[in-house]
């Protein structure tokens, strides 16, 4: 395989991507980019396959055994050939590696100002919680069948999901009822992310076409695994705003609920909201900051850091503050309470 056809091929790609692939219609810019890599791989694979298997079949017919005493050529190796067929695949591999890396980097970094939605997975259902307290769960349709939860999002705006795995029933003490792994997969957006018990994972997407999209769970989670679906409905921004403000909104926003917990659980005794130093670090302007940790190292104040600091306060103590002072709040705050506190801290700019 020489290099020229390759260059030509990569020029042809935008045309080939989409139409000739087996992918579902691409609904995001990232999905389009993934499809380009996919089309490139498909074409190079096809060429490699034709060279290898075509060559194989050609040789099999050309050099079919004619008599029991056939003499064959004695060829042990050819360094040039061997170099060529090691090095060209290597170059192709490095090219797709770098290309894949670039797209993956974009997948992992959500743009500033994305709409944040909390996603909760349990055996075997999805639940969505918006910042204003609006909650979407699965329900029943007209025929009494289970209707998957539908997350409504605005078209053309980035959406960031903060995902957690939870028990089947929140207050359950049954040791068998424990959160397990799930995975949030949007085929139309070509992205998925595991939902891992005991921590938050995040992903983001921006749907550019209005419409309804499937969400599948892709990490085996038991007999209800294949029934664990959700829908995403992308609607124009104005419709989204209207929907978000409509009935079904929670009593208060997540941040307000967090503010209430901040007083009622006596967080305020040690952590100020206005920048003054009390016992522990202040919450003001804490969000997103990089913080020195006692005993070396740094940590960014993000969802996982705040969660860990509430449930296991001595794991990463801010440098210059006493360790062992704060008690754990594990068992005293529900998963949703922790999310509310996180949202409250986010508002203290």
């Amino acid at each position: 395989m020489s290099f020229k056809p390759l260059v030509l091929l990569s020029l042809l790609l935008p045309g080939v991507a989409g139409a000739s692939t087996f992918m579902p219609p691409a609904a995001t810019v990232t999905a389009g980019e993934v499809d380009s890599v996919y089309a490139f791989l498909l074409i190079t694979s096809l060429i490699s396959f034709i060279i290898l298997i075509g060559g194989m079949i050609f040789f099999v017919f050309k050099y079919k055994r004619k008599s029991a005493t056939d003499k064959t050529a004695y060829i042990t190796h050819d360094h040039t050939l061997e170099f060529v067929w090691s090095f060209i695949p290597f170059l192709i591999f490095m090219f797709v590696f770098a290309w894949g890396w670039k797209i993956y980097h974009d997948m992992r970094h959500s743009p500033e100002g994305a709409l944040e939605v909390h996603v909760m997975a349990k055996k075997w259902d999805w639940r969505f919680l918006y910042k204003n307290g609006k909650e979407v769960t699965s329900g029943l349709d007209d025929k009494g069948q289970k209707a998957p939860a539908t997350m409504v999002v605005p078209v053309g705006k980035p959406v960031k999901l903060i995902m957690a795995s939870e028990k089947i029933s929140a207050g359950s003490t049954d040791p068998m009822d424990r959160p397990v792994l799930h995975s949030f997969f949007i085929p139309a957006a070509r992205i998925k992310q595991d939902v891992v018990p005991g921590r938050y994972t995040t992903m983001w997407f921006q749907l550019d076409q209005p419409g309804d999209y499937w969400v599948f769970c892709t990490e085996f989670c038991g007999s209800g695994h294949s029934a664990m679906k959700a829908r995403i409905s992308a609607v124009p921004v104005a419709d989204f705003e209207k929907w978000l403000a409509a009935e079904g909104t929670g009593e208060m926003t997540l941040a307000d609920k967090g503010r209430a917990l901040y007083s009622s659980k006596a967080c305020a005794g040690c952590h100020s909201a206005d920048g003054t130093r009390v016992v522990g670090p202040t919450f003001k302007s804490a969000w997103g900051a990089s913080r020195d940790i006692e005993g070396g190292g740094k940590a960014t104040v993000d969802e996982n850091y705040v969660r860990e600091s509430i449930l296991n306060p001595n794991a990463k103590v801010a440098a210059g503050y006493p360790a062992g002072v704060m008690p754990t709040f594990a068992g005293q705050l529900s998963d949703d309470d922790v999310k509310a506190l996180i949202e409250f801290i986010k508002t203290l700019k």
Partner: protein, 531 residues
């Protein structure tokens, strides 16, 4: 005992001693190889029945022949039986045990007692693992991902301990092969004259010795997690479920090469013999096996691109995974070059070898789709992955086992299988395989996740094609089995070298005598000298 009568003209390893007891206590590597053959074939039958049950269930949308709970179990046992009891022991412990010592001119493996012990470890491990069926069966998938697999379930404990014990079988076989290859080569059999099958088994053995202990401790921890709730993988005590995946794949990715490297070795033998031509690039093929073995220890994280591991880790693992592609491509090109100007005989073993190249090329290139991190995010845990690893592990390993069986059958039993029927079995398996698994690439691209009991209606027609293909594979294996049994009972008598092979096993009688050679061979040239 090696008495004078043992060297009688008609004496061979099969009639050297008689009776069931002499087989169950045998220290002869050839007999142990055949013990493995019988066991692995039985497990393959079990795993195959589970596979057909899966495909039958997926023939239609909704519940077809079983409930979702039953499906989860069938899927788990299909995976666990096929991986731990069929494909991992398949080539090394059966064909490898039989032919590694003969191919290097040794009388036996280095530690015959350990060799027998390893077979009993496999039986015991399988027994413990299958005991789980009496506790309702495990429903975790063969990967046992935590925390789903932590439910204080006796079934999971049995599976974990069974895998632990079966792991010893693999370790002991690998240890035996490494020492045998190092220490027991015939005079003149230098490391650059050993057949490529031995190179492949040697590379495999290194992985078996170095990776399996990590699986051992992982499943032991999983069992302890189910018995005591030790909390290593359980977030409730601060443990980390993803840590289990790291531990598990640190073994199980190298294990993928335990499954495929011996297959590469078989193919190198088949291609040279049936093209009657020296192998192209002996050194490149030999060292590419070692290279794959070495890199295999550093790619486990590509199973975890969407598990929440850091972006940096994802990129490093993607890069290292790409590197595996290079030695694999080298092998494929070298085999193709070996055909050039050869004298190609299309007997059944060669058809299997060519079929292997066809299927493995598809399995290999789709591996690049999965190593590319951006596309893997889409394909991860979909049917695309299912199709990919079946193309590699079934299309690769099972095709080469079948090719290897038909190739070495006259050596093992002194009789030939009916070539026409062996070719019929190939046609059914090859066509059925593509009909089964090619549609699964499309299903995966469209977004159908794996381990699904039920699916969207629009996926139904592709699933139906796939199910029909799986029955064709089943027919192919039944034809193959009948051909083998017919060959055993009624097969034409074969001479010592029916195919014109050049490696040492073809210089001794068929079947070989108890100590393989009447006089220790002295080697003066490379393994594939067709001049």
């Amino acid at each position: 005992m090696a008495t004078a009568t043992a060297h009688h003209e008609n004496s061979n390893y099969l009639n050297h001693e008689k009776g069931l007891w002499s087989w169950l206590t045998t220290l002869d590597h050839k007999r142990i190889g055949l013990l493995y053959f019988i066991t692995v074939a039985l497990f393959f039958l079990v795993g195959g029945i589970f596979a057909l049950l899966i495909r039958t269930e997926l023939y239609s949308v909704g519940e077809t022949i079983m409930t979702a709970e039953q499906y989860a179990r069938v899927m788990t046992y299909h995976g666990a039986v096929m991986v731990f009891l069929v494909i991992i022991p398949g080539i090394p412990a059966f064909l490898g045990n039989f032919f590694l010592p003969i191919q290097i001119g040794a009388k036996d493996v280095a530690f015959p007692r350990l060799n027998l012990l390893s077979w009993y470890c496999l039986l015991l491990g399988a027994g413990i693992a299958l005991t789980s069926l009496f506790f309702g069966g495990a429903d975790t998938g063969w990967t046992f991902y935590t925390p789903y697999s932590i439910k204080h379930s006796p079934a999971v404990i049995c599976m974990a301990l069974g895998v632990f014990v079966a792991g010893f079988s693999s370790i002991l076989t690998g240890l035996n092969f490494v020492v045998t290859t190092h220490k027991l080569r015939a005079p003149g059999m230098t490391m650059n004259r050993i057949p490529l099958f031995v190179w492949a088994l040697y590379s495999t053995a290194i992985i078996q010795v170095l990776a399996t202990p990590v699986l051992g401790i992982t499943v032991l921890l999983l069992a302890a997690e189910n018995i005591f709730g030790i909390g290593f993988f359980d977030p409730a005590l601060g443990g980390d479920p993803v840590l289990f995946q790291h531990f598990f794949w640190f073994y199980s990715h190298p294990a993928v090469y335990i499954m495929i490297l011996p297959a590469f070795g078989v193919i190198s033998e088949l291609i040279t013999t049936f093209a009657r031509k020296t192998i192209f690039g002996y050194t490149a093929i030999a060292y590419s096996s070692l290279a794959i073995a070495a890199v295999s220890f550093f790619v486990w994280g590509h199973h975890m691109f969407v598990s929440g591991q850091s972006e940096f880790a994802g990129i490093v693992f993607s890069f290292l995974t790409m590197l595996v592609g290079v030695p694999t491509a080298i092998k494929l090109f070298n085999w193709m070059a070996t055909l050039y100007k050869g004298s190609i005989n299309l007997s059944a073993p060669m058809l299997y070898a060519l079929g292997f190249m066809f299927l493995f090329t598809i399995g290999g290139v789709t591996g690049i789709f999965l190593a590319t991190i951006a596309t893997d995010v889409h394909f991860h845990d979909t049917y695309f992955v299912v199709a990919h690893f079946h193309y590699v592990m079934v299309g690769g390993t099972l095709m080469s086992i079948m090719g290897g069986i038909f190739y070495w059958f006259p050596k093992m039993f002194g009789r030939l299988c009916n070539d026409a029927w062996a070719r019929v079995s190939f046609v059914f398996i090859f066509v059925g395989f593509n009909v089964t698994f090619f549609p699964q690439f499309v299903l995966g691209s469209l977004g159908m996740p794996r381990r699904y009991f039920d699916y969207l209606p629009e996926f139904q027609h592709l699933n139906r094609i796939s199910t029909i293909g799986s029955y064709l594979i089943g027919i192919g294996f039944i034809v193959g089995l009948i051909t083998i049994i017919h060959g055993l009972l009624k097969g034409e008598k074969s001479g010592p070298n029916p195919w014109g092979g050049k490696t040492l096993e073809w210089t001794t009688a068929s079947p070989p005598p108890h100590e393989n050679f009447l006089t220790t061979p002295v080697v003066t040239a490379g393994p594939y000298e067709y001049r």
